[in-house]
């Protein structure tokens, strides 16, 4: 039971809004100690996992100089100009299209972008400019539009990578079930991943239409 102290620490830490990094490090050391490792062993484990998982930040950090430089030279301003010419574009339509494109390419095993690679430099400026075409945005409205742009990336990314190309998730499902003595084929898992992928598109359409309607109503209120 004492091993669960890490989960308790995480829950309490997030509940009291302690800095997430501090919570995670304390919970890791606490769980390791509770499980009977020495302090030095736990710290060495933390170091090992940190080094093995450095790849997680590589796509973010390496993208920053490119995005920063282009932003200095008017990337967002240029996108805003283009969006003023595209009258049919709304924030919701842009995010839904991006979610569908991201998901469609991920079916083929292709990872189109990320928060640093696509969302900050392109997708969010497009959505924001489209929303702005109907009046200036308040800070709260801008935050809501931006958060939906980030959501489009995550939702598009998550739910359709199990369908065609055998990537990590698919192999993990097959591996766990095979090892447990209930063999399954990749084709079966792929087939049963399709309904959810389609459903996610429907939900996206509903969510982004709600966003557009909310944005439109807000403008009427301002007039």
């Amino acid at each position: 039971m004492i091993k669960l102290i890490g989960i308790l620490l995480v829950a309490v830490g997030f509940g009291f809004r302690v800095n997430a990094l501090v919570v995670v490090l304390v919970a890791g050391v606490g769980t390791g100690l509770a499980a009977g490792f020495s302090l030095r062993e736990v710290v060495a484990l933390m170091g090992r996992f940190f080094v093995e998982n450095r790849g997680l930040v590589l796509p973010i950090v390496l993208m920053l100089p490119v995005v920063g430089l282009l932003e200095k030279h008017g990337l967002q301003e240029r996108i805003a100009t283009l969006m003023r010419q595209a009258r049919a574009a709304t924030a919701g339509r842009i995010f839904w299209l991006y979610q569908a494109l991201r998901g469609g390419l991920s079916v083929l095993g292709i990872s189109l972008g990320s928060h640093a690679g696509m969302v900050r430099p392109l997708i969010v400026p497009m959505g924001e400019a489209a929303a702005k075409g109907r009046g200036e945005l308040t800070e709260a409205t801008r935050e809501r539009v931006r958060a939906h742009g980030a959501a489009a990336e995550n939702v598009g990314n998550f739910f359709s990578d199990d369908i065609l190309v055998a990537v990590g998730a698919l192999l993990l499902v097959k591996g766990v079930l095979d090892n447990a003595g209930v063999p399954v084929t990749l084709e079966q898992i792929k087939l049963w991943s399709v309904p959810t992928a389609l459903w996610v598109l429907v939900i996206g359409w509903w969510r982004y239409r709600a966003l557009d309607r909310w944005l439109a109503r807000r403008k009427d209120g301002d007039k």
Partner: protein, 305 residues
Amino acid sequence: MSPGLTLEHFFMLTGLFVAAVALGIARSPGHPRRWGSTVFWLGLAVAIGAGKSLPHELVGWLVLGLGALVATRQVAVPGFSGDGAAREASAVRLGNRVLWPILVVPLLAITGSFFVGSQVALGLGCLAGLAAALWVTKDTPAAPVREGGRLLELLGWTIILPQSLAGLGGIFAKAGVGEEVAKIVAGALPVSHPLVAVIAYCGGMVIFTVMMGNAFAAFPIMTLGVGLPFIVNANGGNAAIMGALGMLSGYCGTLVTPMAANFNLVPVRLLELGDDWAVIRAQAPFAAAIWIFNVAVMYACVYRF
């Protein structure tokens, strides 16, 4: 292509970039937390760039040290004031040319992934994008370091959260936390009932993913602890249907947990949102609607096919 080029080279390059940002902070007297921030980014530069050749324990202490700097609020972000008029003028002058270096990155990363590893291909894509951006803007090579550093400081401590969470997950696994949780779930609910078994399994995937920040970590534990014994063995359910929808239920948890830092907290910083929960709030209705769908499909099909 070239066998000499590995991911490790890109880690060194990343380390050099982060070190350059740290030196830039050290030389700016107006920085709100000049020395704390300098030490933080230098420490991170060492952990990323040289992490592989250092003893694991040393890296561990280094990471805890970075955490201590964050906990004592020694790392801060200065207020950045850009030149709006210059940006407008540059946007007019460059036109659409300012857009395409961004598109070079995924194009090269996708093409390259057929020849070299996908992470190496992405690294090459970023370098090509940087070269293209420098060529288009005719700016100095110091500019991308300065502008990238501005974004890096905005990200701040969230940049080491994903690896730290991987560490927490690894320690949870070593300590056997998952087995303990699965035992509690199985003991607390009447999981031999077919519908309860489906809800407990899909719900457990969400809860466990929320705690670990990763559906991959939750999957083996919930599947072996709840799914296989109660859906497949006790009620004759179809393992492939269970596995596919179980994993997709876990992703619903990923949408709503701050523990999935690179998906839910990094964009908060990148998009300069004031509220750490903004992205999660936008995603919560997605998570709920998708989870209910998964449970319904699993219950309708898993005992039938």
